[in-house]
Symmetry: C2
Subunit: 443 residues, 2 copies
């Protein structure tokens, strides 16, 4: 492609994010053009319902109902895929990449499900796929991992990647309200979808964790290869006891790589995070990521993780990189999967077995309030070599029942799973125990 | 320059930072080469004393005592200027840029003093000047401002940019020790230089603030155009009263731009920062920066701000950008002053007059313990239209003296200066009042 004098940007989809990108690209266009040294043209927009009222005014002549026509329009240099989902979005993406275009997207589900196919299509067609907006909204975390921190091997990355869950947990902690009430509030304020399950069960965080793990280590870890647990079973009892122990509860993605054994592990779970850590004070809809590299040490990135404007900032950052790539012929950013694979030193990397993934644990058990129950529980734990650090028995939830809060010394995922299975067989344990990890991170 | 198959890196200076860069470039070389798709050669090293024992082993054949020979060596593509200072470092930088080389540097003093000359030399010679390591060590803040957040106009940037001062203030707060004792400890641990004045009087922070302001707004603000105050007069009295009011004391750089009036103001001063803000919990030698953009909102960046390894991470990040630039012919990063000038939309930007720069203030006065003193002080303040919010009289420091802690309602720098001048004329005020700003930031 010869170096264009005007960069034509095509939009596929013009929902919340798309309108934000349009609004800010229009509003700050003179500034952006000066920064980039290139003219930008908001060239063509595919929407399902052209007549629908929108927050931004699109000239009628630019509108179409055919996203594939935008994706394959020879005049379009950059395609913003902001449709979402993995069907039409995938068709649009592959069609644009096949023609050597640059696709900019916030679509984490598509990337996680079809990343290998997308990067292969980009390589084959000579196109590129940028996705800064797919993780942590306005925080330029993908650029930091790929470029700013390129000197580093990443032993640990952990973070709060879902604003909905963080909002719910923050409200539960601050207001003393139940999970159900906090969720209802999040829905009322538009922070949670009508169907909240992707968020609260941890899958949205898992998608983002997969992307960060890919960037850092060059492998796509499937969500079914991860440990993924959500926040739906957390109660005020847990919030209060965690606070008494000096912790806040955060839904974290944790990506660890041991460079001695070359083992990688990706997990998503609610975590007791020591209050002294900076990320423990990242509240509400904010996201935060702690990246530990072997050269830079730990650096932290915090900001608004979602929403129209923050996401638009990330999409426009990618458009800017795309513009420079188009006008210079090559990019500073590591452009494709092959490079990312090398990036992690993927050779021989394996998923860590469960017995190598350890932490201290928090267990909440609803039990029969009768003599000998703690002895039974302690026996199961001892059989699995899980050592109890503390036990608190709490006021009864119902007649003849009691709540036990246990914390363990350092153990591992295999031992704790076996423990949970053993506890489930006790008649005195009335429901599946709630298990939380204790995140004793040093930063 | 044709695209080289091996990138030759020359070092001028091999002190703490230089040795860190050498160590990690050597240690992670295979990884870096894979990530970049280029071979790297640590080609030649200029040091003053070749025989000196060092933490890294340099083959004798690579050593020279002539940094200009490295800077002008036709085989060298990238020159790491790690000499420091503004004399020999300037000669080396200009010589390398004149030959179209890429210079990578951590030298904030050189950049602040001679930025215009350096970027002019880069433009003229076809070279480039990269300086990620000049601000906030291992935190890729310069890349974030230039690239990741390119969609944004930056209304406010503030941060903790000097680890020495932050260490001293943290120790004073946590241990209840005096400024002198905390400084002595910082020196003992190597966190403060033998001559600490550049750090504790705010000039190091001012240099870094100038660089951030240049990136965000395209103008070089001289340190004598800034408000610069250090931490040397802060006492336990101030730490304790700030804590009682709900604040920690941090030395901050604050860069504000009003896009209505197109006015810019850069200041460096100890600030009472509300404890609820994330940056208030950035302690010890860590740095932290809060960037408020009109699109992304506020994003925060926290990490180790100095030291061999963190600084090396930043230098190697720049080397990586330089490698891609060399192998592709152009860079994603905004490469020179001209672009940065456009970046800020510099046209017409002016330094804000003092009366437009406001905050609430904290004043500590040592006064004669006699009737009528507070009335005199209040009269001076009223005359200057500075409204008192609270007054605390504290136990006497000596016989017949008292300490007054005042906080004001919102006022401005011109009014508070006039107030200080008026207070200095009162016989009852025994020494120049200590003035601290109250940083009521929303994030």
């Amino acid at each position: 492609m010869s170096k264009p004098s005007v960069i034509n940007i095509g939009f596929c989809g013009l929902g919340t994010v798309g309108q934000g990108v349009w609004k800010h690209l229009s509003g700050n266009r003179a500034l952006l053009e000066a920064r980039l040294g290139s003219k930008l043209e908001l060239y063509r927009v595919a929407v399902r319902h052209p007549a629908k009222a929108r927050g931004v005014k699109i000239p009628a002549g630019k509108l179409t109902t055919d996203p594939l026509a935008v994706a394959t329009d020879p005049a379009v240099h950059i395609v913003c895929e902001l449709i979402g989902g993995t069907t039409l979005a995938r068709d649009v993406t592959l069609a644009a990449l096949a023609q050597g275009k640059i696709v900019v997207s916030a679509n984490k589900a598509l990337l996680c499900g079809f990343g290998a196919e997308i990067f292969a299509a980009a390589r084959k067609g000579g196109g590129h796929y940028f996705f800064e907006a797919s993780v942590a909204g306005g925080i330029p975390i993908i650029k930091a991992l790929r470029e700013g921190l390129i000197a580093n091997r990443f032993g640990r990355i952990y973070g709060i990647l879902n604003g909905t869950c963080n909002y719910i947990l923050t409200r539960m902690e601050r207001e003393g309200i139940s999970y159900a009430d906090a969720l209802a509030e999040a829905k009322r304020l538009g922070y949670a979808e009508a169907d909240e399950s992707l968020d609260v069960q941890g899958w949205d965080t898992a998608h983002k964790a997969a992307i960060l793990a890919f960037l850092a280590h060059g492998v796509w870890v499937k969500t079914d290869q991860m440990l993924v647990e959500g926040i739906t079973r957390i109660t005020q009892t847990d919030i209060v006891h965690a606070a008494q122990l000096g912790y806040g509860i955060k839904l974290l993605a944790v990506i660890t790589r041991n460079f001695e054994t070359n083992q990688l592990f990706v997990r998503v779970h609610p975590t007791l995070l020591p209050r002294r850590l900076v990320l423990a004070s990242v509240d509400g809809v904010f996201n935060g990521i702690a990246v530990t590299g072997d050269v830079a040490g730990t650096t932290l990135y915090i900001g608004c993780g979602a929403g129209q404007d923050a996401t638009a900032s990330a999409v426009i950052g990618d458009i800017a990189d795309a513009v420079t790539l188009l006008t210079s012929g090559k990019s500073v950013v590591v452009p494709d999967e092959a490079a990312a694979i090398h990036a992690g030193g993927r050779q021989g990397v394996q998923l860590a077995p469960l017995e190598s993934v350890g932490s201290r644990y928090y267990l909440r058990l609803e039990v029969r309030d009768q003599p000998g129950v703690l002895a039974q529980i302690a026996t199961v734990m001892a059989r699995n070599r899980v050592s109890i650090e503390s036990v608190i028995q709490r006021g009864n939830r119902g007649p003849e029942t009691a709540t036990l809060i246990l914390t363990t010394h350092q153990s591992n995922e295999q031992a704790i799973r076996a423990t949970l299975a053993g506890l489930a067989q006790l008649d005195s344990v009335l429901e599946a125990p709630l298990l939380l990890r204790i995140g004793d991170f040093d930063e």
